[in-house]
Amino acid sequence: MRYIQGFRDGRTAHALSRLIADEVQTDRDYHLMEFCGGHTHAVFRHGIPDLLPDNVKLVHGPGCPVCVLPVSRLDMAIELAGDDNVILASYGDMLRVPASRRNSLLNARARGKDVRVVQSAVEALELARANPDREVVLFAIGFETTTPPTALAIKQAAAMDLSNFSVFCNHVLTPSAIQSILDSPEVRRLGQVRVDGFLGPSHVSTIIGSAPYEFFAAEYQRPVVIAGFEPLDVLTSIRMLIRQMNDGRAEVENQFLRGVSRDGNEKAKALVADVLELRPDFAWRGLGHVPYSGLRIKREYRRFDAEKRFEMVEREVRENAACQCPAVIRGVKKPTDCEIFGTVCTPRNPIGSCMVSDEGACAAYYRYRRYAEAG
């Protein structure tokens, strides 16, 4: 616990908060985007907005894989679970996410469909070995942190010649999402969203390293600081961003030196590159179609690709018109700007994915901020 609790010390947080207050220039604003939903929750859980001067504003980014998965892909998974020969293995986060027609994986399970919660891709493999007469499909979602375990499971399935295991692959890429935000009309022209710098996700970066962000820093002149997830990490990183902006620098700095290197985890990257390849196009909830932003299973491993094995088709869906998730994901709106936030849409009865996920901005506001925002 030393390396968790040590980074939560209240006195140090207070000291950092004073340093930040001393260093901000009062004649300007600092709009910093925390890309990762894990950061959004850490920020609110530890009350970080209250430790920052008023002109340092945090903009919440799209780094929540549950939130950015389009409803159409979730519908596909539910349809697959409808096959009585299929055991659908899913990470727990996905179960309560609302799909089309008020459906969800949890509803499917209530109707007797075989949906199992797994905490690791390995558990899905074990399910397949334990149920040789059933088809086990891993509903794989997540950013680069979660991708290597999926790739490893496919490799192991190949080594074991496990014919009843396959993967419905929905892995997405962080740099593509950041670029999509920087290229979005809201940021580039309309001025609805201002992002002056990024708190980069440290857990994603343990895998991909800090190098992939160098492009954004140079090309878009936005500083990036790879930030850990404990409150002192976040405060230190905010201070590093403010310093860069004060100096007129736009560089990639790494606050999470204890886990992230420039090149990342070569072994995990090689494994992913061996099994998965870029999709020419992936539709994100909120961000829309982003070229080369998702991963699919390579031809050599196609026998483990559930989309091929079950000839899955993606159908267009109508989003709930009242739900502002897409705008929240892009950082255009705050959860409290949504008319149904906290009234119709609550964690118990979520309308949108941002209210379900433990990384969703709406869930963070509901849990930690709903009274504060009300005044």
Binding site: H14, Q119, F143, L232, V260
Partner: protein, 85 residues
């Protein structure tokens, strides 16, 4: 999804498996993405896999800096609230 915790490696098993410990809770985890992990090392664990080694030296250096900062500038956590309007 990308939540991960630092854990201490307690025991090594075959097939890149290990028993790791966080705050008294033990669980199994895969070390397939790392080389030469030894008992006593710290790793960061995500969905049952160690995704990176925790550099204890760097972590201790950060903690020492934080301690120094707290001693120089920090007030007790209660003092924070009085400053919040």
């Amino acid at each position: 999804m990308c939540l991960a915790v630092p854990a201490r490696v307690e025991e090594l098993h075959d097939f890149d498996q290990a028993t790791v410990e966080v705050g008294g809770v033990r669980s199994k985890c895969s070390l397939a993405f790392l080389d030469d992990v030894e008992v006593g090392d710290y790793v960061i664990v995500h969905v049952g896999h160690a995704i990176t080694r925790l550099d204890v030296e760097e972590a201790e250096r950060s903690l020492a800096l934080f301690r120094e900062l707290a001693e120089k500038l920090g007030e007790s956590p209660d003092a924070i609230y009085s400053g919040v309007s």
